[in-house]
């Protein structure tokens, strides 16, 4: 007999019962539809205990690696604590350790969590200011190895959080990190698979994180890192990309600008065009896309049509308040 916890429900799972059946019997509010492992309405995430692999068939490998499973076909061997898929796992107080400008409008902050904080490179966290203001940022580093969390913050003209980070959040400032969330993560197990990591703006942060994670796991297949910006000034992180390229034979870096001439290693052209020209056949590739929502949507479709499997395309579209309709003031 195994025990399952979800929200305030705590219930034994019967011999022939699924996790969904047990939770519904105990009155838990779990969405569901087909009850046969197809529609994925009842997807939950195991935050403690091992999700039964038979209940992960049909889920993208990133979600499976993060413990997601389909409750309606789950007959767990271990006790489980479950959460809704999008739920932020926890919160930890953290201290800003240092802050550095990476470009005219990008600031890097590194934070030391005051307690263990389990976040995979490529996932995102909610940064909460003491007054409650909150924004999401992706993790660019191997936080568990490094002992700190690295975030890249695009400084927006009217960005309440980003301007505060750029001007006031000095070393020693206390904040809270909530999360992690997101499923744009490296999945170990296919070390020879070619990887395309493409994005714009601070989409570079999770892409760097994923690349670092892949290399840490001994990934041998080619890793194409492609970063696009409107102008050369929008491209940052060139030194870090160059370091990665120099120290790993399988890393290929391409940087491109939309407006105006390429120079050095920076080529002229829209990111989607550059990808199409350099990697016309993505059959068998794993693809990670991060950055501006319009670009991410375009690249999702383009890379799929170029042969990448839907299961192998992972996207994280960055929504900023600047993209939303202006709120009346």
């Amino acid at each position: 007999m195994t025990r399952v916890r979800f929200d305030t429900t705590d219930v034994d799972v019967g011999e022939n019962e699924s996790v969904l059946d047990a939770l519904l019997r105990a009155g838990a509010d779990v969405p569901y539809s087909c009850r046969s492992g197809v529609c994925q309405s009842c997807c939950l995430r195991a935050v403690e205990g091992r999700a039964p692999s038979a209940a992960q068939l049909g889920l993208p490998p990133t979600l499976a690696a993060l413990g997601h499973f389909l409750a309606c076909v789950a007959h767990p061997q271990d006790d489980l604590v479950c959460a809704r898929p999008g739920a932020l796992a926890g919160a930890v107080d953290a201290t800003i350790r240092d802050r550095e400008s990476l470009a005219a409008d990008v600031v890097r902050i590194r934070l030391t969590p005051n307690a263990p904080f389990d976040v995979k490179p490529g996932q995102y966290v909610n940064l909460v200011r003491p007054d409650g203001l909150v924004r999401s940022y992706s993790v660019a580093n191997l936080a568990d190895d490094d002992g700190f969390v690295e975030l890249h913050v695009r400084v927006l003209e009217h960005g309440a959080m980003s301007r505060w980070i750029a001007t006031s959040a000095s070393p020693g400032t206390a904040v809270t990190l909530r999360g992690p969330a997101g499923s744009c993560v490296y999945v170990p197990g296919s070390p020879d698979e070619p990887l395309l990591l493409a994005g714009s703006g601070t989409g570079l942060a999770p892409l760097l994180g994923i690349a670092r994670d892949a290399l840490r796991h001994g990934h041998r297949g080619p890793i194409h890192l492609m970063h696009g910006g409107r102008t050369a000034a929008a491209l940052y992180g060139g030194d870090e990309l160059e370091r990665l390229r120099r120290s790993h034979d399988n890393v290929v870096v391409t940087r491109c600008v939309l407006d105006g001439p390429g120079h050095g290693d920076v080529v002229e052209g829209a990111l989607d065009r550059v990808i199409a020209a350099r990697l016309p056949d993505l059959t068998g590739w794993r693809v990670y896309l991060c950055g501006h929502p319009d670009l991410v949507r375009t690249l999702q479709q383009d890379t799929f049509l170029a042969g990448a499997s839907l299961d192998a395309i992972h996207a994280d579209a960055f929504l900023t308040r600047a993209d939303a309709p202006a709120a009346p003031s």
Partner: protein
């Protein structure tokens, strides 16, 4: 008798079929516009559910799902000829995965049986179409 779903190889075959089927739809200018603003991850799960149903796997779709799920497309002009295109690609996809022609005919019949739900109209009970 085993279902086509089982004979094709169950869930992993459906995952592969969604890739082939969805790519055919996106590459076909007759229907591609209906996917212009679609969330591909959600679409992936829906198409898997659809392909599972029409191949005789565990059914997840109901008529009501079909109606609400396609209502916005009907408003954009989705009609019988688009459904025909879907069924054409469905057959070609299953053929690529090794289904026999009698299986494909059966799947087409099943897909046709939800046509009225998809197009959000009353079933033609006796009346001509």
């Amino acid at each position: 008798m085993t279902s086509l779903f089982e004979r094709l190889g169950g869930q992993p075959a459906i995952t592969k079929a969604v890739d082939v089927f969805y790519r055919k739809m996106l590459k076909d200018p007759r229907v591609a516009r209906f996917f212009a603003t679609t969330d591909m991850n959600r679409q992936r799960a829906k198409q898997a559910a659809f392909l599972t149903m029409v191949t005789g796997g565990p059914a997840a779709y109901t008529g009501k799902d079909m109606r609400t799920g396609h209502a916005h497309l009907v408003a954009q002009g989705l009609n019988d000829s688009h459904v025909d295109v879907v069924i054409e690609h469905l057959g070609a996809t299953l053929a690529e995965l090794g289904a026999k022609s009698e299986d494909i005919a059966q799947v087409a019949a099943l897909a046709n049986s939800v046509r009225d739900d998809v197009l959000n109209r009353a079933s033609p009970s006796g009346a001509g179409r």
